[in-house]
């Protein structure tokens, strides 16, 4: 009798264990739903009614994070300017490489970025043709890094064969030539990894005779492979996916716009740039003063640059984005908000055909 008694106790114990473990695995957290669902308008225009949260890559406001695309696109680093004895203008820049920072590259997504001056992309270096450019480079990263500038310079200033180790310093020096929109990036092997993590920036050499006055923007077309499968998870103009879609860049009707477009995208052979509602004159690498075409599309391979010049005839909201729509649906989608602003001296509005 005692045997049966004990065995039935065993069975109960087993059943209890089974029941508890099933409950633990299958119903881990009993949550009580809120009574009133909230309604959200998402960035694609669809409406969600939910008692939960909305996950939509629009919440990026630039404040909580290290990077503000609105500031970046208009920020040019002209360096510390001094004049040499022979009259040459010397521009000195200080660039520090790091590889330990975590940045919220899209709302909620935290990624280890490698940075020049704590920013992805690095600062936009700007000089005038013939200036002497001196860059004091410090590597505060845990890996070797370097600065490789596009342009005309001596081999020992090319930043390829001399990588700078942890804590190391190097001074790059060259004359700013030729005129154009160039690029700089880390050239330490594996280069793909160093670029994909964010070690790049734009380098502009202005002609001695300045270009026509215009509102100027820098757009670095980049992306992030956050799960390291050699495919980008996010694409953007200036790092933050969807940023300018939700923070349209405000310009005026007939205002002359000049954009410096740099494609530094890794993993994808071709990137492109499509502008809505108007066309632009474009200058490959910005080296020529005569535009090579009048178009609304730029097709760019890795490292390609284009200067584009355009203005808008009509006010309104216009998109610009990768016409490779996969990229645009992963964040490389932006917009201009064109306003009618008669006060702006740069604007000469002609109300001839708008009713």
């Amino acid at each position: 009798m005692q045997n049966t008694f004990q065995s039935s106790k065993m069975v109960y114990a087993l059943l209890a264990i089974a029941a508890v473990s099933v409950l633990y695995f299958v119903v881990p957290g009993v949550t009580i739903a809120e009574e009133t669902p909230k309604t959200f308008l998402t960035h694609t225009g669809s409406v969600i009614k939910t008692t939960g949260e909305v996950i939509d890559p629009i919440g990026y406001d630039g404040e909580a994070l290290d990077f503000d695309p609105d500031t970046f696109m208009k920020e040019f680093d002209y360096g510390e300017v001094s004049v040499l004895k022979d009259g040459t203008i010397l521009r000195e820049f200080y660039i520090t490489a790091r590889d330990d920072q975590i940045m919220e590259i899209s709302p909620g997504v935290f990624y280890n970025v490698w940075t020049f001056n704590d920013s992805v992309p690095g600062p936009t270096i700007r000089a005038t043709e013939g200036d002497l450019v001196r860059i004091h480079f410090t590597n505060e990263g845990s890996k070797p890094h370097s600065l490789h500038f596009h342009g005309i310079h001596k081999a020992e200033m090319d930043g390829v064969f001399e990588s700078i180790g942890t804590g190391g310093k190097f001074t790059y020096e060259f004359y700013a030539e030729p005129v154009g929109l160039h690029l700089y990036h880390c050239h330490v092997h594996p280069v793909e990894e160093h670029i994909a993590h964010g070690l790049y920036g734009a380098y502009i050499v202005d002609p001695k005779e300045p270009r026509e006055p215009a509102e100027e923007f820098v757009f670095i077309l980049n992306g992030f492979d956050t799960d390291f499968d050699a495919e980008n998870n996010f694409y953007a103009a200036n790092t933050i996916p969807f940023y300018y879609q939700h923070h349209p860049i405000e310009i005026n009707v007939n205002q002359n716009i000049r954009a410096y477009v740099v494609n530094i995208l890794e993993f994808d052979a071709v990137n492109n740039f499509h502008l809505h509602g108007t066309l632009f004159h474009h200058y490959p690498a910005g080296t020529d003063t005569v535009p090579s075409g009048y178009n609304d599309m730029l097709t760019m391979s890795q490292g390609d640059r284009q200067i584009i010049e355009f203005n808008y005839k009509y006010p309104g909201l216009y998109m610009f984005h990768a016409h490779n729509t996969e990229f645009s649906e992963k964040g490389w989608v932006s917009s201009f908000l064109v306003k009618e602003n008669t006060d702006d001296p740069n604007t000469q509005v002609e109300y001839d055909d708008i009713v």
Partner: protein, 388 residues
């Protein structure tokens, strides 16, 4: 020498547990920094994808060792805004429902993905989008009919072999019992394989599906073995025949099995694998006819009433109806797997019962009929599974 007193006995029972608790406390507390090595990788599993109205709904579970935030959803690797309920943060084992507004196309394959806070993306594919079934009376009746078709009717048809088997000689009868064993062994293996498949396709790896199957099969076998012994003891006291007892146990075992199969069929219907479920239904119906035969065979040596046989048929077949309902309305890979495994254990226990029954009834067990029966049973089951 049993001189130890009760307190000492209690201490000796508890002491190892106390020491274990102290060790765990030490490892989690003072020694935790010492054990911080390696990289902890997060993991999220998408357990279920449903197409509801103009939404794609994915049930995600944190199956990794650390807490995560689900921060993005995508369809075919294109970022889509979505809602997540109850919220974005997922603790270990916690689930959330990701609702993606999306104008999906019926019959088209989709890959649904979610990205977590460290940028890692987890995805699951759906072969063909299919509107999720609305839980209403029509569906209830439909699923019930399916369960009836695959469970009850084929078993009743199989039971119709009863008069034929009854007229057989001893060796032929033994052959049919052994044939039944062959059928059941096949069904048991089939159930295990099916549960392994469900484990691979639908169950998060954290559940250790294969080990769960093994555990449940053995527990079910042992549990029913004990139950069977008790049943036999009671039967010896009552006037019930041993044949009926064996049949009853076969019916119970097959009942568990059909519950699992019902869950699988209901789920196939709910997940929109329509063509598959037509085949599943024909397949199960054919298989289950032989289950009727298995129930009928032990009855032939005793007087069986028609009502009792119908009752046995219902015990074996009706769980399929219940399974279809549960599987169709809320598919749970976990429970489908568990019931398939219980069915497998039950079936193996039944095989053992039949074997023992045959050993008792025949003074000299006819090896020829035994082996021939099992082999023919296995082969026939294999052939029906291939043809259908």
């Amino acid at each position: 020498m049993m001189t130890s007193s009760k307190p000492i006995l209690a201490i000796s029972a508890i002491a190892p547990i106390v020491l274990l608790v102290i060790m765990i406390a030490f490892l989690l507390g003072p020694a935790s920094s010492f054990l911080q090595f390696g990289v902890v990788l997060p993991e999220v599993s998408i357990e279920k994808i449903e197409f509801v109205g103009n939404e794609i709904q994915a049930t995600v579970r944190n199956t990794g060792p650390i807490d995560v935030d689900v921060v993005l959803a995508d369809v075919n690797d294109r970022i889509q805004p979505a809602a997540i309920e109850p919220d974005t943060s997922l603790k270990r084992f916690e689930t959330a429902l990701v609702r993606i507004p999306f104008d999906w196309n019926e019959g088209q394959p989709y890959e649904i993905g979610v990205t977590i806070n460290d940028g890692t993306r987890f995805a699951k594919e759906v072969d063909a989008a299919f509107s999720a079934l609305e839980p209403n009376l029509d569906l209830f009746v439909f699923l019930g009919m399916i369960g009836f078709l695959i469970g009850v009717i084929p078993i009743m048809i199989g039971l119709l072999w009863y008069p034929f088997i009854k007229k057989l000689g001893k060796n032929t009868f033994n052959f049919f019992l052994a044939f039944t064993m062959g059928l059941l062994i096949f069904l048991g293996i089939d159930a295990i394989l099916e549960s392994v498949e469900i484990s691979e396709n639908h169950l998060s790896s954290i559940f250790n599906g294969e080990l769960l199957i093994a555990t449940v099969v053995i527990l079910s076998f042992l549990g029913l073995y004990g139950m069977g012994k008790q049943l036999m003891k009671k039967i010896e006291l009552s006037k019930l025949s041993q044949g009926l007892a064996i049949s009853l146990m076969i019916a119970i075992g097959i009942g568990f099995h059909n519950l699992g199969e019902g869950l699988a069929v209901g789920a196939a219907i709910a997940l929109g694998e329509v063509a598959l479920s037509t085949f599943l239904i024909i397949g199960f119906a054919t298989h289950n006819t032989t289950e009727g035969l298995a129930i009928a065979a032990p009855l032939t040596k005793s007087k069986a009433k028609i009502m009792k046989m119908i009752g046995l048929g219902l015990i074996a077949g009706a769980p399929a109806i219940f399974g279809c309902w549960v599987g169709g309305f809320s598919f749970s890979p976990f429970f489908t797997l568990v019931f398939l495994a219980i069915g497998a254990g039950a079936i193996f226990q039944v095989v053992l019962s039949i074997f023992q029954y045959m050993k008792e009834k025949s003074d000299l067990l006819s090896n020829t009929s035994l082996f021939a029966g099992i082999s023919v049973g296995l082969v026939i089951m294999y052939l029906t599974s291939v043809i259908i």
